[in-house]
């Protein structure tokens, strides 16, 4: 059980000593819950930090934003930046380091273990509380507690946990500078890839019927892309105008941007977008599940990414976010990669 004071003390201490220039963590949201990402820069802000089941966000994203901010402001980072990281957040940081997005020494990882549970899935909770509006959430071992107008409610974490957490294989941030909480790796709340396995029992026709419906609903708000720490490209290949205009960008390049897909949020374009994204996340997605959480129209994006993740794992023995050193999935190969599908 993590004591929030430990997180606050660590943050305060490091900021006070000037060992880090900022700490990325969570603070209470303006509506009480859910928590919201926060970047604090002064010791006295440390007490704003919270750690509860609504700390959904993969904070690695804000590490990325920090780097982009520095890059655009042409600043050098100076002191490292600290990040409060769950297991998935830490895995994301590892992938980013594997891709040289920043150096290990530039990031101070305050690991927080998800121990017996993980984060909340609000839609599950809503079903559970039928009507009652929660204003705050807290960890309580294998349970969550919620403050509501009708007093405190205790709910078994399992019942309202996000699927991604139930299936999580490494709730403990292996890569860290300090780690808080117990390492409950292998707690096996649910079999990994369970949802995927269930889905794959469907026939081709059923699969298409399902995905067609999902992709037709997509409004291309790009929240999935915006919330993903791996989508840090200066410019996304599916965007139809240049963003990364630089001195060496030629007029021709600006004029002749490839339109892989059109702006229209139609089925074909939406599919091409989501397929492209799944491909580009293969071997990089750490299954933090943020894309699925934020999707306003409930497209089960984790299924796509899980599919790629499991292929990488089972066919190529590749585990995203496992090591900073290793080669990337699609940039490498093994002599005995499966080729039975090839004529």
């Amino acid at each position: 059980m993590i004591n929030i004071q430990d997180i606050r003390d660590t943050a305060r201490d490091m900021l006070a000593k000037g060992e880090v220039r900022a700490v990325i963590g969570w603070r209470a949201g303006s509506r009480g819950m859910p928590a919201e990402p926060a970047v604090i820069t002064a010791p006295e802000q440390a007490d704003e930090l919270v750690w509860d089941p609504t700390c959904y966000h993969n904070l690695a994203l804000h590490l990325v934003e920090d780097r982009k901010f520095l890059a655009h402001a042409r600043k050098t980072s100076g002191a490292p930046i600290a990040i409060v990281a769950k297991g998935c957040d830490a895995r994301a940081v590892v992938v980013l380091m594997q891709e040289n997005y920043f150096k290990r020494e530039d990031v101070y990882i305050i690991g927080v273990s998800c121990e017996g549970s993980g984060v909340l899935a609000e839609w599950k909770l809503a079903r559970h509380l039928n009507g009652a509006v929660p204003t705050a959430a807290a960890f309580a071992g294998d349970e969550f507690t919620f403050a509501t107008a009708a007093g405190e409610k205790r709910v078994p974490a399992r019942d309202v946990m996000a699927d991604r957490c139930l299936e999580c294989r490494s709730p403990f941030p292996k890569e860290h500078n300090v780690a808080l909480g117990e390492d409950k790796t292998g707690r096996d709340l649910a079999a990994p890839f369970a949802a995927l396995a269930r889905f794959e029992t469907r026939s081709e026709g059923e699969r298409w019927e399902f995905w067609q419906r999902q992709f037709e609903r997509c409004i291309r708000c790009f929240a999935c892309r915006s919330v993903c720490p791996m989508c840090y490209c200066e410019e996304c290949v599916v965007d139809s105008i240049n963003i990364a205009v630089a001195p060496d960008t030629t007029a021709e390049e600006k004029a002749n941007r490839i339109r892989w897909i059109e702006r229209s949020a139609t089925r074909s374009e939406n599919i091409t977008y989501h397929m492209t994204r799944a491909m580009h996340l293969a071997g990089r997605c750490v299954d933090c599940g943020e894309c699925e959480r934020v999707c306003p129209v409930n497209i089960p994006l984790r299924l796509l990414n899980n599919k790629m993740e499991r292929e990488a794992r089972e066919r190529f023995g590749y585990e995203p976010g496992a090591s900073i050193g290793g080669p990337s999935l699609v940039a490498s190969f093994r002599d005995d990669d499966p080729g039975d599908f090839i004529r």
Partner: protein, 650 residues
């Protein structure tokens, strides 16, 4: 981008294309393309008038790019790119649309074929509209050559190249050059002494001012590309200083360790410190570390004590030498197919059953028996000798599928040599066919049969085993249909040739391919017989396939000629269609660096940088990059995107 002015030239190829593709319609359709300023069809574009019309059209209509819709680019791409250059525009703004091999020749329906030809041509037009005018990249070359393998092939190649004035580094794995040829006693079809014709060449190598000889050495690593390879060579210590060594042979006298002599294929023995044979080049002794009682700590040290010249140095260390060369010739030769694998003939455990090379050593004046043919078991003169051909060859089921080519000839030679040594002996040859193509070869075999009364039996030997001091050979004579049973004093197996040990490794190090039998693969079976698939690396000798000495020498000289041609100028032209980085998009994730098969990409302050000389333009990087930050010139993502559209009439 100012509007392109592309010219389209549709070739009829006589009726080859015109019969199935409506060429005039094709030309019209192409004229409708946004970027096309000129379009025509002609009966033979590759003919002189055809080519001239292309040049004229480019000049008259000031075209800036050309599409020729004709046969495969492998045939006339160069032709028409040269024409473009002659007309004053970059050859790289000329593309070929292959509507013959990929269309006219494989379809019958005129309508379908024409429709497809239009798509193919249109996508070429779209592509060329975005082609950049590029100039070949001139790369300074290192005018030095490495020859790997010191057999007759390597020696010949090295001498030819050195005599053309180029520096050569000749690398040999063993302590001396010479290879298998030096083990032979006489050579067919002239029966002249192998040593006598080879050793002068060996001496020439050792004396040649342009040749640097590195024996007892192995190639470990090769980087770089044609014109500029960097080779790491490991020189194993011989523990003897060749300069100081007086060849007094005192050391071998005191050396207590006796091991089989590989030069005589175990028919004789040598000491741990030894000289492979009298004419070894370099003429020096070698202390065989694996056999020596011990150097560290020194267990014996006798040889050092007796060496007055003080040539022996136990502290000699392996040396890694870096050599920069512009080209490499691989002549790593062959080994005999191991007798152990021939179970039907006793797997090498039956006494007095020898392989071809062992028999050579028996016949050789410098060999185990000083040139008297005596069988190993009791040193008696064998009276009945059975020679078996195609042992391991032409046997896809169990051994090698291929014919080892030289066995027919050397078996005939063996039979004759034997008869010359033992006139009253009987020589039997079991054969499947006699393959004696080559100058004077057939006559040679005939003489073996007639003059030397060799008994040729058409058939296979089913098995052989030891019986009362003899080797019983059971076979059939398929011509008479009778079973044959011979109690032989000695049996000689004409074992198949296979790539020498280590061929696989060297192929990996050099990044060159091997064929299904493990021999080094030539770039084209007919037109590029001495080129490997990797530019600047050439092949010769038995490493490329079974062959006899004359062929080997011819191939060695051919490889030499190729190298001399390659290095005849100070610079090489490297294709400019190489990868280009869009720095604004590159995040330095290093995926392209990992993916590049040529180590041509590196990171420089956080961004990928392409070494254009190393880059071969394979595009692995662009397909791996998530950010479209790297692409191959003139095959950019945008170009392929538009080709896709063209193929789908979008």
């Amino acid at each position: 981008m100012t509007k392109k002015r592309t010219g389209v030239f549709v070739c009829h190829c006589g009726t080859n294309i015109a019969a199935t593709v409506d060429v005039s319609r094709l030309a019209k359709e192409m004229a409708n393309e946004e970027t096309v300023a000129f379009s025509k069809d002609y009966v033979y574009m590759c003919s002189d008038p055809g080519q001239n019309s292309v040049i004229e059209a480019i000049k008259e209509n000031n075209l800036d790019s050309v599409v020729v819709t004709c046969c495969s680019p492998n045939l006339h791409e160069k032709t028409f790119r040269d024409n473009a250059t002659r007309a004053g525009i970059s050859g790289f703004t000329c593309e070929i649309a292959n509507i013959r091999e990929q269309c006219a020749w494989v379809h019958k329906d005129r309508g379908e074929a024409t429709a497809k030809a239009i798509k193919i041509s249109r996508s070429a037009v779209r592509r060329v509209a975005r082609n950049k005018s590029l100039e070949p990249i001139a790369v300074p070359v290192t005018r030095r050559v490495m020859v790997i393998g010191g057999g007759i092939a390597g020696i010949q190649s090295a001498l030819d190249i050195a005599n053309a004035g180029l520096e050569v580094i000749l690398v040999e794995k063993l302590a001396t050059i010479g290879g298998h040829m030096l083990q032979l006693s006489e050579t067919f079809p002239t029966l002249d002494c192998s040593q006598c014709i080879l050793s002068p060449k060996m001496v020439e190598v050792s004396r040649h001012p342009k040749i640097k000889l590195m024996t007892y050495s192995e190639v470990q690593e090769v980087t770089g590309a044609v014109g500029n390879f960097r080779v790491k060579v490991l020189q194993k210590p011989t523990y003897v200083d060749p300069e100081a060594c007086k060849l007094c042979d005192e050391c071998t006298v005191v050396c207590p360790v006796v091991v089989p002599n590989e030069h005589d294929l175990g028919l004789t023995s040598r000491r741990a410190i030894h000289i492979p044979f009298a004419q070894a080049i370099p003429a020096s002794y070698t202390l065989d570390e694996s056999a020596c009682l011990g150097l560290n700590p020194i267990r014996c040290g006798k040889c050092k004590d007796v060496c007055e010249a003080g040539a022996i140095n136990y502290d000699m260390l392996p040396k890694t030498v870096i050599e920069d060369v512009g080209a490499i010739v691989v002549a790593t030769g062959f080994d005999l197919y191991p007798q152990e694998k021939i179970l039907e003939y006793g797997a090498g455990n039956v006494e007095d059953v020898l392989d071809g090379l062992q028999f050579e050593r028996l016949c050789s004046a410098s060999g185990a028996t000083k040139g008297h043919v005596l069988r190993p078991s009791d040193r008696k003169e064998p009276k009945d000798v059975v020679f078996i051909q195609c042992v391991g060859s032409r046997d896809p089921a169990q051994h090698c599928a291929y014919c080892s080519k030289i066995c027919c000839m050397y078996t005939a030679k063996h039979a004759r040599l034997y008869k010359h040594h033992v006139p009253d002996g009987r020589a039997y040859v079991f054969y499947i066919d006699i393959r004696s193509g080559g100058k004077g070869y057939e006559e040679f075999v005939q003489r073996a049969m007639e003059e030397d009364e060799t008994i040729y039996l058409r058939g296979r030997v089913s098995k052989l085993y030891r019986k009362d001091g003899k080797v019983r050979v059971l076979g059939t004579d398929t011509l008479t249909g009778q079973n044959v049973e011979i109690d032989a004093d000695m049996v000689v197996l004409a074992l198949a040739m296979q790539p020498s040990k280590g061929t696989e490794e060297i192929a990996k190090v050099l990044k060159i391919g091997r064929d299904k039998d493990g021999f080094l693969a030539e770039a084209h079976p007919k037109l590029k017989p001495v080129e490997s698939v990797t530019g600047g690396i050439y092949l010769c000798g038995a490493a490329q396939g079974p062959k006899d000495i004359p062929e080997t020498v011819a191939q060695a000289s051919a490889a030499a000629a190729k190298v001399i041609g390659l290095l005849s100028s100070d610079t090489l032209n490297h294709t400019p269609t190489v990868a280009r980085v869009r720095r604004s998009h590159c995040t330095g994730c290093e995926m392209c660096v990992t993916a590049c098969p040529y180590k041509a990409i590196r990171l420089e302050n956080g961004k990928a940088v392409v070494n254009e000389v190393l880059c071969e333009g394979c595009g692995s990087c662009s397909a791996t990059c998530l950010r479209a930050a790297i692409e191959v010139r003139n095959v950019t993502l945008l170009q392929v995107h538009e080709m896709i559209e063209a193929c789908l009439n979008v």
